[in-house]
């Protein structure tokens, strides 16, 4: 039944993609269609591009661990990601984009500051690092398919990648507005149903909140600063820094400099459409991340109550059907006596697998979401939906996630394709005619390579990061933070600061990128340890200690880039008056 609805959905998407493609075939047809883009379509398209499986499965799962403090990210998603993005950035971006005939984010920055280097550099950063974000979107979709059909993760990943590849080959990157709007509508229905069901199942809004407040965090979480699922973590604790700096601020602010979102502002007829889109966009985002984070946190109430008698494995604590068959315990001075009778030669520091060669032990005892999900953050939302909702809703939610993933992926592939083709390749080739002839090939090769890299990352990331790491949330945060550090000061300067120079922006972008990259490789604990370069070069996992190892790169790279941009601009040559006048024509009036 699920497969049938997936096919129906794919056929509708393909049909809408075909309609969009037909519209773009002739430039005049396109202009008619393009100019008629309704603000409702634009807002849903923007929202569907903005919100992916990363937000729903990844960050929703993170809310299952961190609690409802994640709602500050929803607030930023709406206030910064919609209100400020559309009004403060969008309107000027649209006008300046037309004045400079810019079609990509790197092109806008490059032409504004009359620097092909800026365009090439931004293009290559997007091409090299966006696959990380693409990979976590793939992981989000594959994790849900894995849980829904109880199949291997790798099978789910290949299955979903094939769907995406067919979509791309069939022209899914063309005329994406209508398909995105359709996908946005499915997402809105799916998420609205999710919050209604969640509150209904748990006895209403206040009762479910009270029950969630009553849950006590287990000692390992409390030790890291967890104060409960309806409270913020202890100020300054590891959990607080991760939640506030990486999850909330990194993504909440980083959204302003997302290349695939910036270009959306140019697709509407006038700023009037952007005003109208704000109304729809704000409500849409509340329905997406607000619902995902609230439901993710509330899933703890449902799993602990275990009202439907879900079977767990007593040894691992996970739901029986997803029990990993593994339960690692680290031996220390306190617990060594307990295990000695069974494991004679153990010593403190050893790790033993309690589940090795021991069959599952069934129990119906309730547990926290993260335990029920077998320790995998990304399994929380899929398991919650699968176990607590009616079957038809699981199908609707599956379509919701497919829609969320495909709408974001199509815009990501679009951004990466143009980044390598138009922003990099076309800029380094002197013979423009020959370059244009080869542009189709280069774009397609670029997209092919990025799909491949994304899939490889989507396969290896869950293997590299051990359980409980919220890899989707971290991967998204890293990319958003990198964009904020590298592009945001340049973007703000482009739209608002006439005195900023080409040299200032080049220095700012390079310093922002370098600092963010350095922080990632040598300071940020989980990432530096996974990459291993710091250990290899300096013999220690990170160069600094806590709390620095928990602080998102954006907190260091963004101020650095901003200061460097401003200071260098003070001492370098201004852009010509004429150029500035051309860029700002009709802006700020």
């Amino acid at each position: 039944m699920t497969i049938f609805w997936v096919f129906v959905y794919l056929i509708i998407v393909a049909f809408l993609g075909y309609l969009g493609y037909r519209h773009t075939k002739g430039a005049s047809d396109y202009l008619v269609a393009g100019r008629k883009v309704h603000p409702f379509i634009m807002a849903l398209s923007y929202g569907a591009t903005f919100i992916s499986t990363s937000a729903i499965v990844g960050f929703g799962g993170a809310a299952g661990v961190f609690g409802m403090g994640l709602l500050y990210l929803t607030f930023l998603n709406i206030f910064v990601g919609i209100l400020i993005a559309f009004i403060v950035f969008g309107k000027r971006t649209r006008r300046m984009g037309y004045h400079l005939d810019s079609h990509t984010f790197p092109e806008l920055l490059g032409r504004r500051f009359q620097s092909p280097f800026i365009q090439k550099f931004a293009g290559i950063v997007i091409f090299l690092f966006m696959p990380l974000y693409t990979a976590v979107v793939l992981i989000g979709a594959a994790k849900y398919i894995e849980q829904q059909f109880a199949i291997e993760y790798v099978t789910a990943l290949i299955f979903f990648t094939l769907i995406v590849a067919v979509y791309v080959i069939m022209g899914g990157l063309k005329g994406v507005m209508y398909t995105d709007a359709f996908q946005g509508s499915i997402m809105a229905i799916g998420m609205l149903s999710l919050i209604i069901f969640t509150y209904y199942n748990l006895g209403g809004i206040i009762k479910s909140h009270v029950d969630l407040t009553a849950l006590t965090p287990p000692p390992p979480l409390a030790a890291k600063g967890h104060m409960g699922w309806t409270s913020m973590p202890a100020l300054g604790s590891d959990f607080w820094w991760t939640l506030v700096s990486t999850i909330i601020m990194g993504v909440g602010i980083g959204v302003l400099a997302q290349p695939q979102l910036v270009v959306r502002f140019m697709t509407v007829k006038s700023n009037r459409e952007l005003n109208r889109a704000v109304a729809i966009g704000g409500i849409f985002i509340l329905l997406m991340t607000g619902v995902a984070f609230t439901s993710g946190a509330l899933s703890n109430v449902w799993f602990t109550k275990n009202e439907k008698g879900i079977k767990y494995c007593e040894i691992s604590g996970a739901i029986l059907e997803i029990c990993p068959g593994k339960k690692i315990v680290k031996i220390d001075e306190k617990n060594i006596e307990k295990f000695k009778p069974q494991y004679k030669d153990i010593k403190p520091g050893d790790e033993i697998d309690l589940h090795k060669d021991v069959p599952h032990k069934e129990t119906t005892k309730g547990s926290l979401s993260i335990v029920a999900a077998g320790g995998v953050v990304e399994n929380i939302i899929p398991q919650f939906v699968k176990q607590s909702m009616p079957h038809w809703f699981s199908i609707l939610f599956m379509l919701t996630l497919l829609a969320a993933a495909m709408s974001t992926l199509s815009s990501q592939f679009h951004a990466m394709g143009t980044a390598i083709g138009r922003d990099f390749y076309m800029q380094i080739i002197k013979d423009k005619k020959a370059a244009e002839e080869r542009s189709v090939f280069i774009n397609k090769m670029g997209i092919g390579v990025t799909i491949l890299v994304s899939v490889v990352l989507a396969y290896f990331l869950p293997v590299i990061y051990s359980k409980g790491e919220a890899i989707i949330a971290r991967g998204t945060s890293i990319f958003f933070g990198l964009c904020a550090g590298t592009f945001l000061p340049a973007y703000i300067s482009a739209l608002y600061l006439k005195r900023i120079t080409k040299a200032g922006v080049v220095a700012g972008m390079l310093s922002g990128f370098t600092v963010a990259f350095f922080w990632l490789v040598f300071v940020l604990e989980k990432e530096a340890m996974a990459i291993g370069l710091c250990q290899a070069l300096f013999g220690k996992p990170t160069l600094l200690s806590s709390p620095w190892t928990m602080i998102d790169p954006m907190f260091i790279s963004f101020p650095t880039s901003l200061i460097v941009t401003l200071v260098v601009s003070l001492f370098t040559q201004k852009l010509s008056e004429n150029h500035i006048k051309h860029c700002f024509q009709g802006i700020g009036k």
């Binding site: 396109y30 607030f75 037309y98 809004i205 104060m227 729809i280 509340l286 542009s439």
Partner: protein, 56 residues
Amino acid sequence: MLGLGDVWVFMAYLLCVLSAILCAVYGFVKWNDDEEPYTDEAKRWAEEEAEIEKTL
């Protein structure tokens, strides 16, 4: 506080709803503002965009 355990989380819950309402109010109040004529520049941009889509 709607059953929430911490005033900060209650504020987050409230801010989410209020910011969505603010977006809705802004959009509806300014529903007919900022209309612009369709310029040649915008038309050229759309033509070029259609060309780029063909290369993808």
